[in-house]
């Protein structure tokens, strides 16, 4: 069953297995399914046999049987329990694998809004409702919504993740088959929820590079972020040469920051985002809460770009 053309109209019974986890998910699914089928068969056969054998107008042994009820009940409590625990362990390990992205993945940003998907690549390539990714390389998509909850769902990859307003969520996959695959919004988000569809286009690495080059915009994500950093006025305070007493942002990403009041926080994307939108919520130790909130002035796309820029600032670069 080649899943290369899941977009065509042919009747399918099983979805294409186009990501590194798809076969694993299917295996677990079939295992549980097999157990279900076996159990159902046993049940149906028993009901069938009892119905015939003990049909009221038939002669049959109907004397009370010796009471071994307890043993039977014990058996059908413990056996399902063990089977269930087995499935749980299997499912939990796979769940962890699906949920936790590998560290070296390619980073793509996605912005969901009623009713479209916007993607932004590290090179600054932007696309709408279509996502190009390379074959055989893990890709992490960082998701955020501008309005309600959406959900990023690619059936051929067996992955799904809700997209929340005001909070980054993340999903990863490694495509193992080239082709075009459906992308759905799986969380109800209003009128055109059903129209919030797109596709993921998986290309062999060389083709992918060519695509990147052909659609390269004037500036990369980081460059755009740098431009925004200046035009929004961040540099006025955060530039090392600035006279305002504001923290130097070089090398901040991933560092543990000391906050006023003794708490600490890891400067991940969510932290950087909060710093721009809710600067007073976590004030850095040793600084006055001077920074204004940029809520309403920066949209999610601009925030993504600025974060990419801040992430690109190595500690060594500061003068």
């Amino acid at each position: 069953m080649s899943g290369a053309m899941p977009l065509d109209d042919a009747v399918q019974i099983l979805p294409a297995q186009a990501s590194s986890v798809a076969a694993d998910v299917d295996a677990l699914f079939y295992a549980i399914l097999a157990a279900c089928v076996i159990v159902c068969l046993i049940l149906f056969v028993l009901i069938w046999r009892f119905s015939l054998k003990y049909w009221h107008s038939r002669d049959a042994d109907r004397e009370a049987h010796e009471p071994q009820g307890f043993r039977l009940e014990f058996a059908w409590t413990v056996i399902p329990l063990l089977v269930f625990i087995g499935f749980f362990v299997w499912g939990a390990r796979l769940y962890l694998k699906i949920e936790v992205p590998p560290p070296d993945a390619l980073q793509v940003h996605a912005l969901a809004r009623q009713w479209m998907w916007k993607f932004e690549h590290p090179g600054g390539q932007r696309e709408i409702n279509t996502l190009h990714v390379p074959l055989g390389r893990p890709v992490t998509v960082t998701l955020i919504s501008q309005d309600v909850i959406h959900s990023f769902f690619v059936p051929a990859f067996r992955i799904k993740q809700d997209v929340l307003p005001n909070r980054y969520t993340r999903i990863w996959f490694e495509a193992i088959e080239p082709g075009r695959f459906r992308l759905f919004c799986a969380e109800f988000c209003g009128t055109s929820h059903a129209g919030m569809r797109g596709e993921v286009i998986v290309m062999p690495p060389a083709e992918y590079q060519a695509w990147l080059a052909s659609s390269a915009p004037a500036e990369s994500l980081v460059a755009r972020g740098q431009r925004m950093f200046r035009s929004a006025g961040c540099s006025g305070c955060h530039d090392p040469r600035s006279t305002v007493h504001a923290p130097d942002l070089h090398g901040i990403f991933g560092r543990t920051v000391q906050l006023r009041g003794g708490a600490t926080a890891v400067a991940d994307e969510a932290y950087l985002r909060d710093s721009m939108l809710l600067p007073d919520s976590r004030v850095t130790a040793g600084f006055a809460p001077l920074m204004p909130s940029f809520a309403g002035q920066l949209d999610e796309g601009e925030i993504t770009a600025i974060i990419a820029y801040i992430k690109s600032l190595d500690a060594g670069d500061s003068e």
Partner: protein, 213 residues
Amino acid sequence: MPDSRALRAQFDDLGQQREAAALGMWVLLATEVLFFGALFTGYTVYRLAFHDAFVAGSGHLNVVLGTANTAVLITSSLTMALADVASRSGSRRAVIGFLAATAVLGSAFLAIKGLEYAQEYREGLVPLNSLVFSYSGPDAERVQMFFNFYFAMTGWHSLHLLIGIGLLIVFIVLAWRGRDRVRLEGNVRAGALYWHFVDIVWLFLFPVLYLVR
């Protein structure tokens, strides 16, 4: 043999009827615990996340009035408990007196609460649609979240108290009109359980809202 109207047809005797009423009342209170429980859960989640903002918000509440109100409500619970005892063994006049005292104390609580709301309104701390929430300190959004909970929780509590006062007034009228002992006792019993419960909720609301550190 007590008044025949006192024993309902589905019960065999008054003891059974009384026990059923008590159990019914307590089951209702268990329900109420979870009613408020949803609010307390939300509050806890945000308070853990936005600790500083909640401290700041709490700092704008009037602890003096809050403390006074707590004392008022505790006192009303005492008078309610006394009304309960009186309905079993005391005179009808005592019952009416204690019920009336309880209703007055309950109203006093609401009056003081209203005073606080007014004060918060003047400071621009009421996050209602048309009113502007004009908090000038840092992290105004999350402070507003504190006030959202403050108003939702105290508002819901005050509504309960209002219902309680209504019940008391009904009981007072019934007692006045000479309702028979058995039935009045049942009413006051149920009302008392409800009233004490509303008091208990406040005993938690007070530290949780006013004394955040």
